[in-house]
């Protein structure tokens, strides 16, 4: 099955908890070297469960995966050596100092002190925490804590990094800072990154490819661009003063225009590459000496993609309230 480009190969991976909760349901996908791959899904979709299997926290119920060339069920130790993980919850001991805890992490990976100390310093610098290394971790803010966890996850210089909701609960500014560190990792260390999130902007800002996961199944996979394009392209809304004249046919003749809807002087145009098309439409109108009253360009967001694939169906049904409650309860207990 060896696929030369794939650093992760997942085959029919399934996890059933307590013989009843199917958290991950027969998923298969590949992640290529150097990619930032995003797992996008609502609460309880099975994101963490997938990561926990790939990072060998617990074995799958069925199916398997190769991570960095090792089988997660047969060679978990080899997998653990080659990956870095930053779990969803904060893991660090808040009563240690940052320096102590990152060295503790190095010890877990058997890194000798003479390598660990300069490396820890380098990593703390990477996430701009070098000045607070000697402070206790419980004095760190939420954003510092996340960045610190990120540094700890890098202590063994992994080829592949797992980030479970790396920006959960952070404010927008801090989130952007974390994103910049993630992009830096990819660029400077040619690291492959698998992250989960339920923030759509995050996928847009970071990911080369995305899989949308819901109820343990992958419902859609592709580049953010592809997914958005799959929705049918951009929307240009344009208004002209001359409400009695119909220019629909003339607009439709322009290349890449897919659909035009007119109501009075207002046109709603569905098109590919809206930003290149808009000037052409403006040209057409001006050449005819009509007057533009307004123009508006919307690109489809991940929001709409997400809604399209996860939102509509089952989620709105009444009967699901119980299931949602149960789910929340299980998550709470599982997190204890």
């Amino acid at each position: 099955m060896a696929n030369k480009n794939a650093i992760i190969e997942v085959k029919n991976l399934t996890k059933v908890f307590d013989n009843k909760v199917k958290a991950v349901d027969d998923i298969s996908f590949n992640i290529n070297y150097g990619e930032i791959f995003g797992f996008l899904g609502p609460n309880g979709a099975g994101k963490s469960t997938t990561i926990n299997m790939l990072t060998t926290l617990f074995p799958p119920t069925s199916g398997t995966a190769m991570v960095c060339g090792y089988n997660i069920s047969k060679e978990p130790m080899e997998v653990r050596k080659s990956i870095g993980t930053v779990p969803q919850d904060y893991t660090s001991d808040s009563d240690m100092t940052g320096q102590e805890y990152i060295i503790f992490c190095a010890d877990l990976y058997g890194i000798p002190r003479n390598i660990a100390v300069p490396r820890a310093a380098e990593l703390l610098k990477l996430v701009s925490l070098q000045d607070v290394a000697k402070n206790k971790i419980d004095s760190y803010s939420g954003g510092m804590r996340r960045r610190f966890e990120l540094a700890c996850g890098l202590i063994n210089r992994p080829k592949l990094l797992f980030l479970d909701e790396p920006t959960l609960g952070l404010d927008v500014q801090t989130r952007t800072a974390v994103w910049s560190y993630i992009t830096k990792l990819k660029k400077e260390y040619s690291m492959t990154i698998f992250l989960t999130t339920h923030y759509l902007e995050e996928v847009d800002a970071l990911c080369d490819r995305v899989a949308i996961i819901d109820h343990g199944k992958i419902v859609k996979m592709g580049t953010p661009k592809e997914l958005k394009a799959g929705l049918g392209g951009d929307i240009i809304e344009i208004g002209i003063k001359e409400t009695s004249i119909n220019i629909s046919d003339r607009i439709l003749k322009i290349k890449n225009v897919k659909d035009v809807k007119r109501s009075g002087g207002e046109y709603r145009i569905k098109a590919k590459n809206g930003e290149e098309l808009a000037p052409k439409i403006i040209d057409l109108i001006l050449k005819n000496k009509y007057h533009i009253t307004k123009i508006f360009l919307t690109k489809p967001t991940m929001d709409e993609v997400y809604l399209e694939y996860t939102g509509k169906s089952i989620r709105n049904e009444q009967s699901d309230k119980d299931a949602q409650f149960r789910q929340l309860h299980t998550i709470r207990t599982a997190r204890m």
């Binding site: 503790f104 058997g110 390598i115």
Partner: protein
Amino acid sequence: MPDKIKTNYNKALEAERAAEYEALNNPLHGIWTIANRELKKWYRVPLLLIMTLIQPIIWLGLFGKAANFGSLFSGASFNIPGVNIPASVLNNLGNTLLTNTFGTTSYFSFLSVGMLVFVIVFAAMFSGMSIVWDRRLGYLNKILSAPIPRGSIVVGKVLSGVVRSLAQAAIVLIVAVVLGMDTSYINPVSLLVAFAAMFLLALSLSSLFTMLALRSKDWQTQMTIMNLLNLPLIFASNALFPTKIMPSWMQTIVAINPISYAVDAGRQALLGIAGANPLWFDFLYLTVFSIIMVAVGMILSLRYLSK
């Protein structure tokens, strides 16, 4: 990154990797790291340490000194009106009575050894329960995803519990000596014997509590149950009172209770008291109990950790 730098970087990386992997080949890798972190948490917070020792020390001070059975029977405090028994006779009588009951004339010394074991039981329980917090705080996931065998994680945990228990017992012993425990039998050998017995008890109880804590979903109930269990277990042993004065049904419990064997061995070693069992039998019982608890604890913990 330019390609040249990248290659250099990768070369340096490979060299470092080789050093790391060598350490990982050591089968004991991780045990000390994990145990050390536990111990750090413990000795770093002196207040917590003091808090855990306050209870046994107060018991020693209040209970051991207040229930000074010796003074009940001394010539100064006790006499029968009209019958003038000489004080020396009364003192003698008192001492014989005490020696018959406690094996020594000092109830305080008798209780001190019981308190050492009391400390072991509670320290083992608390260190076992700490794994519940590790799981809640995500720390357990961190060590589970590191290249450390599952077994080493459990061993590291149990080991730190044992070290903690023994260190606390040592502190209580020093306090007891300062407060007037009989030291005439204390020497390096007797200390070694007493601490060996306590080591076995600490090892078995730490394994047991670690296993229980790992499997419990609801830590609050677990904590309550353990607290409810611990005190009766101590009362139903020879730690506080001699077995002789107990009702016979209780004596049966005492005879099964492993705590009694650690106390019995400790008293024989530290106070030179004739024990309920020969010393070798105390050790045999404790060893067998430890082997069973460690085996069961390890197997169940491992199974839980790799579920």
